[in-house]
């Protein structure tokens, strides 16, 4: 079996290399048959990798403990679903997942466009297969999941395995890695189209139109992956938070930030023909950050407490990144004349400039996070001393950035293209701004004196009100013409321009997320030893220890603490945090108990018995507004899905071209008319 898997991977590598050569030679020599054979090689790669993945999964589920990978990530008593997810529980397998997903995407792209873009497609194939070849090479020659355990010349069957890391035996971990990888891997597609358009010297931006939906889909997967990871950290790791600016988390956030910037600046290119070079840079950065993220998470460079750049696959990734970045930079510089901007910036108070600042700020945040994550490497190179920075650094830089972004989220969509005046701004933003200030004053009077929290709530209100007003005005205009009620009007409105109103919903989701983040400012926590019958007070909550019990099943031993919880004297029932000791991996884990409510979560972690065994050590947290983070995610998801539905009205964007700039200030255009879908 393992021989079949290894052979399939080896063949997949050969076919990927053939696909690169075939499509490049086919494109250069104008030999269509070569390009077509390269396309078929792409399908073959998918078939071969599917076989390899099937072999690995079968071995995991059947428990073939002769294989090193199976012995490392699975054991007999593990539930079947985790035997399956052990596919990506270790390095070799997760690289196989990456490669398999990329081959799936590649096959879909090549199939969808088999009769389109005859000049670009060979290059798209070449770029995709170069990436594919790199990952398949790693699986075939560096980190194969198909190795068997051997002693001398004999194969050893260890009988039972180590089991999947118990921390990963949790439902979000079943879908988190594939989601994140779907996001990471998917960005190879827009990147491949961008490179293809540079190679073939396309003057237009057809690559942007073709890849818009891909970009959205991958962005959605990235968002889902990141938030599932946060949800997992919150429910499993037991430290009461969901985001710790850990290098692995940062690695997943970096490409998300550049992808978000790309999604915005793409509109500038579509509507105004501006920022063409910038978009190339963004799509390339996102792709390389995705590779870099895989490298950070998968090379073991960060889990190692010592060194940053060790591990067997590190050098390969560094080489791939260096060559790829240098090649892309050369290509962009070489094709600058095809990327000329079609119009110019006219005013600081304009839609264009809000996009520009949105990009600037997102990139600054990305750079700061990258800098902080790599600080130990940079400081060692410069001063010879290894120095790290911690969560406060990231918060200090990113909180102001987040708040400024929130402001732009409110202002950007309503400000006019080209130029706007203070007068029209006042008209558009009076009520949102007034509500924001009102909320902030109200909270201040109610005793909230945390500066950032007040600013955050103010801006959240501001953005929410602008979005609601947009929906309301539009729906009313439709309603007065067609006689539909407000709700039907809103649905009609959204359907007419899904991209715009879906986007507003995403913004609203981000607002909800920010409300959740802001709750962090009001956290409470306490760590105590509690004997049976003793009580603990935290915030409004009182917890009384009722007793402990313990037991065992095949997979783990457990001991459970039961607490009777009340809030302001009102009985809330019991909570039972649990501590488990996994037999196969000999690792303890905590199963925290969380009482989730819209206003605040009560979070209890049982850290184990005290030294004398008579008391229980528990950590308790009151986390206000955390649920808003998860709700915000659903709103973002729905908004993104709406963006992908085709609009009812076919949209065309006539580009405004600058013929000259007036010497005097011309009165600004009228306020945006909401019943026309000009946006």
């Amino acid at each position: 079996m393992e021989n079949v898997g290894a052979l399939a991977v080896l063949l997949a590598f050969c076919f990927a290399v053939y696909a690169i050569i075939g499509s490049v030679v086919g494109a250069l020599a104008k030999r269509t048959f070569l390009a077509i054979s390269a396309r078929r090689a792409v399908y073959t790669v998918w078939v071969l990798l599917t076989i390899a993945a099937a072999v690995l999964v079968t071995s995991l589920i059947q428990g073939d403990f002769r294989m090193a990978y199976v012995a490392e990530t699975s054991n007999r008593d593990m539930p079947s679903v985790y035997k399956f997810t052990a596919w990506w529980g270790g390095m070799g397998g997760s690289l196989l997942l990456w490669a398999w997903l990329l081959s799936t995407y590649s096959a879909v792209v090549v199939w969808q466009n088999r009769r389109k873009f005859r000049d670009m497609m060979p290059w798209v194939t070449a770029v995709l297969m170069t990436t594919e070849g790199f990952f398949v090479m790693l699986i075939a020659f560096v980190a194969s999941p198909f190795k068997v355990l051997a002693q001398g010349k004999g194969i050893v069957d260890v009988g039972d395995g180590q089991g999947l890391n118990p921390l990963l035996q949790y439902w979000t971990m079943v879908i988190h890695p594939p989601m994140l990888y779907l996001g990471y891997v998917g960005f190879a597609v827009p990147f491949a189209f961008a490179i293809a358009s540079l190679m073939t010297k396309q003057p237009g931006d057809s690559w942007i139109h073709t890849t818009r939906r891909w970009t959205l889909v991958t962005w959605m997967f990235q968002t889902t992956g990141i938030l599932l990871g946060a949800g997992w950290a919150y429910a499993v790791l037991g430290w009461g938070g969901y985001w710790g600016w850990d290098p692995v988390e940062n690695a997943s956030l970096l490409p998300w930030i550049t992808a978000t910037a790309f999604l915005h600046s793409v509109m500038m290119q579509e509507k105004k023909g501006m920022m063409k070079v910038w978009n190339m840079v963004l799509v390339a950065s996102t792709f390389f950050l995705c590779i870099f993220g895989t490298f950070l998470t998968r090379s073991g460079v960060v889990s190692s407490v010592h060194a940053f750049a060790s591990g067997t696959i590190g050098p390969y990734f560094v080489t791939f990144l260096a060559i790829g970045i240098a090649g892309t930079a050369y290509l962009i510089l070489n094709r600058l004349e095809y990327l000329k901007s079609e119009s110019q910036l006219e005013s600081v108070l304009s839609r264009e400039s809000s996009f520009l600042f949105n990009n600037l700020i997102l990139l600054a945040s990305c750079f700061a996070i990258l800098w902080g994550t790599l600080f130990p490497v940079i400081s060692e190179a410069v001063t010879g001393e290894k120095i790290s920075v911690d969560a406060p650094f990231f918060n200090r830089v990113n909180i102001p950035i987040g708040l400024f972004l929130m402001l732009l989220t409110g202002v950007g969509p309503l400000i006019a293209w080209r130029r706007s005046s203070f007068e029209s701004l006042k008209r558009a933003f009076f009520w949102p701004a007034a509500s924001g200030v009102g909320v902030a004053l109200g909270l201040f009077a109610a005793g909230v004196h945390h500066f950032y929290a007040l600013v955050s709530f103010m801006l959240c209100t501001f953005v929410a009100v602008t979005v609601i007003i947009e929906f309301y005005k539009g729906a009313k205009a439709i309603g007065s013409k067609s006689g539909q009620n407000l709700l039907m009007g809103m649905m009609e409105l959204t359907h007419r321009n899904t991209r715009r109103y879906g986007g507003y919903l995403v913004h609203l989701g981000i607002v909800v997320l920010f409300v959740g983040f802001t709750g962090k400012a009001f956290d409470l926590n306490a760590t105590v030893e509690l004997g049976t019958g003793q009580t603990l007070q935290l915030g409004h909550f009182t917890m009384r220890s009722v007793g402990m019990e313990s037991g065992q099943n095949g997979n783990y031993q457990w001991s459970r603490l039961t607490l009777a919880v009340s809030k302001d004297g009102q009985d809330l029932g019991t909570m039972s945090p649990e501590r488990r000791f996994y037999v196969a991996s000999k690792q303890p884990t905590s199963e925290v108990a969380i009482r989730r409510r819209l206003d605040q979560d009560l979070y209890v972690n049982y850290a184990g018995p005290s030294d004398d065994g008579t008391k229980a050590v528990i950590q308790t947290f009151v986390n206000p507004l955390v649920s808003w983070v998860w709700i915000g995610y659903w709103v973002v998801l729905i908004g993104t899905l709406i963006c992908m539905i085709p609009s009812k009205t076919k949209l065309v964007f006539p580009r405004t071209e600058v013929v000259g700039i007036a010497k005097h200030d011309i009165p600004t255009p009228e306020e945006v008319k909401h019943d026309t879908v000009e946006n």
């Binding site: 921390l167 400039s353 303890p588």
Partner: protein, 145 residues
């Protein structure tokens, strides 16, 4: 070109503020990676700077007292000569991997008596594989296809 001046000024102002915040953030949280012998070499400096010390948990030395956890950290997995007493009083629960023989990273400051006050502990299990495959096979476990 008036517009480009305006944009330039705004951009520089924004980036300037962020750079200022970043520099402050670095100064506030920068932590030096050290091993126990390296801490000894630092002398007085060791008590001023925030440190991140790597070592191994001495078997049997972990004890809980009140909210605090005390243990001895040694400079080599096999034992070693250089010991350092560590008191952990952070709010985060200790990682599940924190136990005897584990490789640990303690973050915090050294006091004048040579006791290390940690606010954060990270730990990594001693390599898992050797425990399962019979002795002498560890090196061979990665051969074959």
């Amino acid at each position: 070109m008036n517009n480009y001046w305006k944009f330039g000024t705004l951009t520089v102002a924004i980036l300037g503020v962020l750079a200022w915040l970043a520099v402050g953030g670095v100064k506030e949280t920068q932590t030096y990676f050290k091993t126990i012998p390296e801490v000894r070499v630092m002398g007085d400096q060791a008590q001023v700077k925030r440190l991140r010390v790597t070592g191994w948990v001495k078997p049997g030395s972990i004890s809980h007292q009140g909210g605090n956890v005390q243990f001895m950290m040694v400079d080599a997995e096999a034992g070693g000569n250089d010991h350092m007493a560590v008191v952990y009083s952070g709010i985060d629960p200790l990682p599940d991997t924190f136990k005897d023989h584990a490789q640990a990273v303690a973050e915090g400051k050294l006091d004048a008596n040579g006791v290390f006050h940690a606010t954060k502990i990270q730990a990594k299990c001693a390599s898992k594989y050797e425990a399962q495959v019979p002795q002498g096979n560890a090196a061979a476990s990665h051969t074959g296809i």
